[in-house]
């Protein structure tokens, strides 16, 4: 089983490298932090009401953290959905699913190879966004010590470690979005529907949180978990929001992947 999954995974990555749409998302992941940093360099103002917003001119490390708050609204889920929503459906639409299903690999191996590839793409765009933000931010505001949410100061090197870890925690809900995307890609068999559907799902979850009378649901909403990384930037580190995010996201991601897998296993491949 596992070597078959790896074979599919490797070829899925090669396909992504050969596809234009891959670079669309990566381009956005690089362009947004760049544009943000350039704007900051040209103007003296700072983002208000955003964690670390007031520090963007004191330490370049504050810039990737500010971007995390902005990116969660739309950008990273969009980039994630762009590939995750496409990864099964595009093969449905091009009729290539039948081509790969009549080789020697089981459907499950194909499915999980694709899941891994979608997660890898999410990771890559996250790394790109973070990397560009850290480098461009440090160039503009300097690689200086960072003031934490508790008001204490950590050295630049320790701050860098925290920023990278924050990106890691941020990936947890993002992976859940990717798994929802792959599930919708499998179920809808339509690339556009799956990409839009994934984004609409994220927006709807966000909407539920502001409905009156449903405030108690807030801690269990996927979109709320995009703030969990802030626990890392308290002193001492507050792990509670992070472990909470881990199991809440698992509640979204695991059923999605199981549903997608079962549908993929049992469905007719009649297209193409």
């Amino acid at each position: 089983m596992s070597s078959g999954v790896l074979t599919v995974y490797r070829w899925e990555l090669r396909k992504l490298i050969a596809l234009k749409r891959t670079y669309l998302g990566l381009l956005a992941a690089a362009a947004v932090p760049l544009a943000f940093t350039i704007t900051l360099a040209l103007r003296s103002g700072q983002p208000k009401d955003v964690p670390f917003g007031s520090y963007v001119h004191q330490s370049g490390l504050a810039i990737p953290l500010v971007l995390l708050t902005f990116a969660s609204a739309f950008l990273l889920p969009l980039i994630t959905a762009l590939v995750a929503g496409d990864i099964v459906a595009s093969e449905d639409q091009n009729g290539t699913l039948k081509t790969i299903m009549t080789r020697s690999l089981q459907r499950g191996q194909i499915f999980f190879g694709k899941v891994l590839a979608a997660l890898t793409y999410t990771l890559a765009s996250m790394l790109l966004l973070g990397g560009v933000a850290i480098i461009a931010g440090s160039m503009v505001s300097g690689f200086h010590s960072l003031t934490t949410l508790s008001g204490t100061t950590v050295s630049a090197v320790a701050g860098l470690g925290l920023v990278l870890a924050s990106f890691g925690v941020y990936l947890i809900p993002l992976f859940a979005v990717a798994l929802i995307g792959v599930m919708l890609s499998t179920v809808t068999r339509n690339s556009a529907a799956a990409v839009v559907g994934t984004l609409v799902s994220v927006l709807l979850i966000e909407l539920i949180g502001i409905l009156p009378g449903l405030e108690w649901l807030q801690p269990y909403l996927l979109t709320r978990q995009f703030d969990a990384w802030q626990g890392l930037l308290r002193q001492p580190i507050d792990w509670a929001p992070i472990t909470h995010a881990a199991w809440v996201c698992a509640l979204y991601g695991i059923p999605s992947v199981i549903a997608g897998y079962l549908v993929f296993l049992r469905r007719d491949v009649a297209g193409g």
């Binding site: 070829w11 009729g95 081509t99 009549t102 690999l105 459907r107």
Partner: protein, 321 residues
């Protein structure tokens, strides 16, 4: 392990109200080049999809060399290769890359056969071009190459020559013939009688999801009344001979020839009778029975109006022959 390449029993596939495949039984034996004939929408592709484990039957079973592609999935395709409808590849990858990927998915030593497969379908020179720029015929050949990577003992091909020009059709036939001569068992669907005639020994004819004939092609053709055109030195006199001859029906003069319906043995006897009447035969041409004629024959007693065989389809079939 059963040695029978294909054994389908009671296959049914229902799409809502439409029964695409209706209790199909099919047996393909080792070494057969088996023709699976039927007009558009007869259920050929649907049957092949079930054999390849791509879709799940509503009822019935398939065994390929004794293994069940529906329960076992791709594991049952050991020694089996083929495609349904037009073979599809990744348009943004080159042909070689596509085949390398298929070989990786096949496992084993399939990767070592990529070049050889490209060569056998004469695509070596274009192997580094993206498949997106391939013509229909080239894709069709690439589909065969992808199947050959698996070194199949059984090849399932769905209308492999459809959309090819006459040269491409001939090349495809030559290729399939060569593979069959090398010992491959082939199941080939088609809506062109001419195509299976040249390749196949056994045929199943399917119409509206049901098998209406299964057996040797020779028996089918011998039993079908075929038409002949005859030209002699004296057509008027020859017509009388024809009319007097047993086993010859509806003989009449059409232009410079006499057209009649008869089976092969009656024609043989007629030629002797013509000689005995001191008539010289200038030309004797069989009019190839069309698929339509065969259907007509297979539903004997019914008039064309009673066979729900749309005229448009019939004429399409006719055009190709």
């Amino acid at each position: 392990m059963s040695q029978t390449p294909v054994e389908a029993r009671g296959l049914v596939k229902q799409y809502g109200r439409i029964t695409a495949v209706d209790h199909v039984d099919l047996t393909v034996n080792r070494g057969d080049v088996y023709g699976f004939l039927g007009p558009n929408g007869a259920g050929k592709t649907t049957t092949l999809r079930m054999m390849l484990g791509l879709i799940f039957p509503t009822a019935g079973t398939v065994r390929l060399f004794g293994r069940d592609p529906i329960a076992e999935g791709a594991a049952a395709l050991d020694g089996v290769a083929g495609f349904v409808e037009a073979p599809q590849f990744y348009p943004y990858l080159t042909a070689r890359k596509n085949l390398q990927m298929m070989a990786a998915y096949d496992g084993g030593d399939a990767s070592s056969r990529v070049e050889e497969s490209l060569k056998s379908v004469e695509l070596t020179g274009r192997a580094d071009d993206k498949v997106g720029g391939y013509s229909h015929g080239m894709r069709q050949r690439l589909g065969i190459a992808a199947a050959l990577l698996r070194q199949p003992k059984l090849l399932l091909l769905d209308e492999p020559a459809t959309g090819l020009d006459p040269g491409g059709m001939r090349d495809m036939r030559v290729l399939i013939r060569r593979l069959a001569d090398d010992g491959m068992t082939v199941l080939l669907s088609s809506h062109l009688l001419a195509e299976v005639e040249e390749l196949c020994d056994r045929v199943a004819i399917v119409r509206a999801g049901r098998i209406v004939y299964e057996g040797a092609l020779i028996d089918l053709k011998a039993s079908a009344k075929s038409a002949y055109r005859l030209r002699t030195t004296d057509n008027a006199k020859a017509l009388k001979v024809c009319e007097a001859q047993a086993g010859i029906a509806s003989a009449r003069i059409e232009g410079a020839a006499i057209r009649m319906e008869a089976n092969e043995s009656a024609m043989g006897e007629l030629s002797v009778a013509l000689i005995e009447a001191s008539l010289q035969i200038i030309a004797l041409m069989p009019e190839t029975a069309t698929l339509e004629d065969l259907f007509f024959h297979l539903t004997e007693g019914s008039t064309p109006g009673e066979i729900d065989f749309p005229a448009t389809q019939a004429s399409v079939v006719g055009e190709h022959l």
